[in-house]
Symmetry: C2
Subunit: 501 residues, 2 copies
């Protein structure tokens, strides 16, 4: 589906809509409705089961979303977390430099100075997109953080966090003390981050408040041991810098072992690339041939990242590859900066070792962007039907429960829905209109199972307390005893977990 | 335990700690560690199972945390969401008027004008708590919302939401359209709210960023039908305004039916009071004799609340009753204000009825405050042991899994922990120090079950694949087959749900 068509369907079904819609919407903010919120929660749970599940020493925490000024000064965000913006000196419109340069410089402006960007603007005679005059200013850095007056004096400043990762760095020494005092130690956060984007767009792709799921793995720089043999033969769809420089856009499949042996990447890094691809392919169910591991060059990546591959997925609604996650080897940048900034030495002293400052491997995942990805790739038409082929464990509603005839079968169906809900199975009762229309609504919502209570369910005899179980994808039906339902349905609702390291 | 003692224990165990602790902490902000985050998530899930579970037409959504200025102007927060603050004109310290008046006016300052508060200050010769001079200013209203510069022009303003409820009101017409178009319709939100508190204190009790769980029930003012007979004989611990005015502080037990028949309260309101008390008593496990339904008088409650009872619980650590939730009958104030503010008529047209503007019953619950309450009431010492007697379905870790001898039994124990985790049972492996110390750590974390893998588990014969299951509260142990474990443990992990209306 096209972007606008997909967004209209998601709005109509109450998956998401513009925030403060009755006031005309708030640019860059969206509200999740019942289906969208449930889907989002299940995606978060699947992410946690997979990535936090990588080790018994990885843990989820919930740090505050607000950072005092000293923290963002130390992290470098106060100085560097900027996006170049240009102003039209004729009509006063404001644009991201990257956006106005999209046609003449599709590769973006990462790594260019404001003066260089200004030079490209003028040598290409780029006009103001609003008034078409040749009056675009030289770019100036615009800080994307939202600042707050903090406290009552009007003198303190704090900031909405621009990334969830900072909370993990700030918590590292406390986590070391309350845990096993051993590396690797993983700290995961799922939560909101905030950026005052100059030009929010593409619905969930450039929002001003968005949800990240991030795992920071703190490890001993002298060695991060992983069971690499288990993944050595896995093929990864990589697009490395050398091939990008030759103008290629399609990934090539490379053995994990070769990325280490001849590709110059460390084992621990490739091991986590493999698990990241498995998550997108095997857990979220994205088609393997749409996934690309896009290597960022020295100039493109943040200077503190030693290695960075973005996980990109080709989406029809947005006409190309979009970044949905990334794997960053951040070195000791963050702990080193916060050691300096706070005056507290964040190095640790593992048993039998000299004190050391851990390095960080960051696995990052855009929750909202993947809600969009799961809509783009799994929601579509099949013959007459609109069908959301979500993996069962991601479906907002696991089971639709219907009375065949509302008057006669409603009490049984309601009690059945409650019974399933009490077992932790998200069940939704629906008695509106015909059975066919109820199936259609559930298909559109991605519900993998539907149960219908009918005369046989209530009659005496061999079919008593049996219901019709109908499967979304195949539309096949079978008769199942009420007492067998949970055992049939529950296993399909458990997200996959990795083998532990 | 005393406040400081309890807070020290929670910090030491990594339940929570001051945010940005290595920078000296951020006043009014706390981070949840692994145990605290898991507990918080389970409390939220138990709240949702109970309150959203009240009807098939109640739904959880996730609206944005940021509100544009037009919204808070319409809601009245821009004008009225203030707390009187006083400044010492000698030392320039700033205080909440309520705080400096605590001793001379323990009932608070709700409903007083700044001039009246100033009068009380001067007639009582109240001194500055910092420098002891008699130079406290007349109070001025201090707006508690955090404002943001929104967008790139520097001219737009937006605000961090001061309560989650606004998102439900803004979403009401969309929810009406995507739902059954019938009343009552419930919209629930669990999420952060932000207030620039003049004097954050008491750890989780007055924070600048905190989590609320709120259910807004939109109903037909001509009638909100509830199955009142089911609750008529329930005794509720109420402290009504008339008894408060006579100086009484203890609640009296009153039949729900009498609160309607002679107490002047509507059935729908008392019905929800009953379910609220049941939640605190039966789901969170607070002792019944510590709960009090505290009625707010005309002057104390917000002017748009027609009826308000706070749910208060007596906590040892804070030396008295503390508000942990509330039931507000807000009338049509919110939809009416947003109809005016947005220019969009928010009245609805149920089948066979004239258009009407729904009224709102708000059930509100402070998640962080209840984390504190669950610590205060359930965490303590019993003989030699420190024990957190959380209900099993709230425990951060459901099962501790130990190898008796790490070297021999670790692989089996690790695989067992993974097997339980894959079934959705929060399991934590622990091989550190002695079995006794592992039990002690799990007792302190509130873990209801521990499993020990030993020689018998691995030996051939009748005890093969059996483990020792040990219960937290009784310390009793029994031998259980691995294949029976999930069936023994899972039912204890499901939070109670109400009978559906």
């Amino acid at each position: 589906m096209k972007n606008e068509e997909l967004y209209a369907l998601l709005r109509r079904r109450g998956v998401l809509w513009p925030s403060a819609e009755i006031y005309g919407g708030t640019q860059g903010l969206y509200d999740y409705g019942p289906l969208g919120f449930a889907l989002k929660r299940r995606v978060e749970e699947a992410w946690a089961a997979w990535f936090v599940g990588l080790s018994h020493d990885y843990h989820l925490i919930e740090p505050a979303e607000i950072l005092p000024e000293a923290v963002v000064r130390a992290s470098g965000h106060l100085e560097n977390f900027t996006d170049p913006e240009v102003t039209c000196e004729s009509c006063h419109s404001v644009f991201r430099a990257e956006t106005v340069l999209e046609k003449v410089r599709p590769e973006g402006v990462d790594g260019l100075t404001p003066a260089q960007i200004g030079e490209i603007l003028s040598s290409n005679h780029v006009k103001c997109p609003t008034c078409a005059s040749l009056a675009l200013s030289v770019p100036r850095p615009f800080n994307l953080m939202f600042g707050l007056d903090w406290g009552v004096t009007g003198k303190e400043r704090a900031y909405l966090r621009p990334e969830t990762a900072q909370g993990s760095y700030l918590s590292f020494s406390r986590m070391w003390d309350v845990g096993r005092r051993a590396l690797p130690l993983g700290i995961a956060v799922i939560g909101k981050a905030y950026r005052n984007e100059i030009a929010p767009r593409q619905v969930l792709f450039r929002m001003r408040a968005f949800t990240q799921a991030e795992l920071q793995i703190f490890f001993d720089p002298a060695g991060f041991s992983v069971p690499f043999d288990r993944v050595r033969d896995e093929l990864l769809p990589v697009l490395r810098v050398d091939r990008r420089e030759r103008g290629e856009e399609a990934p090539e499949l490379v053995r994990a072992g070769d990325l280490v042996a001849s590709g110059g990447l460390p084992e621990f890094y490739v091991y986590h690339l493999v698990h990241t691809v498995r998550f997108f392919r095997d857990v979220l169910g994205y088609p393997a041939d749409r996934i690309r591991l896009f290597e960022k060059s020295d100039k493109e990546r943040a200077f503190y990242n030693r290695i960075q591959f973005d996980v990109e997925v080709r989406l029809e609604s947005l006409s190309g590859y979009k970044e949905l996650g990334a794997v960053h080897y951040r070195g000791d940048y963050d702990l080193s900066r916060h050691s300096q900034g706070s005056g507290k030495d964040l190095s640790v002293h593992p048993t039998g070792r000299e004190p050391l400052l851990p390095h960080v491997l960051e696995l990052t995942f855009g929750v909202d962007r993947n809600i969009w990805g799961l809509s783009d790739l799994h929601l579509g038409t099949e013959g007459e039907r609109t069908l959301w082929k979500l993996p069962s464990y991601l479906a907002p509603v696991a089971v639709g429960v219907f009375p065949l005839i509302a008057k006669e079968h409603a009490p049984y169906a309601l009690a059945l829905a409650d019974e399933l809900a009490a077992l932790g199975i998200p069940a939704q009762y629906d008695a509106g209109s015909s059975i066919g229309k109820r199936y259609a609504r559930m298909d559109e919502a991605g519900t993998p199972f539907c149960l219908t209570v009918d005369g046989e369910t209530l009659a005496e005899g061999p079919t008593k307390d049996t219901v019709t179980l109908r499967f979304r994808d195949t539309r096949t039906q079978e008769r199942v005893a009420r007492t067998d339902l949970a055992a049939r349905i529950l296993p399909a609702l458990r997200p996959p977990r990795p083998a532990r390291t």
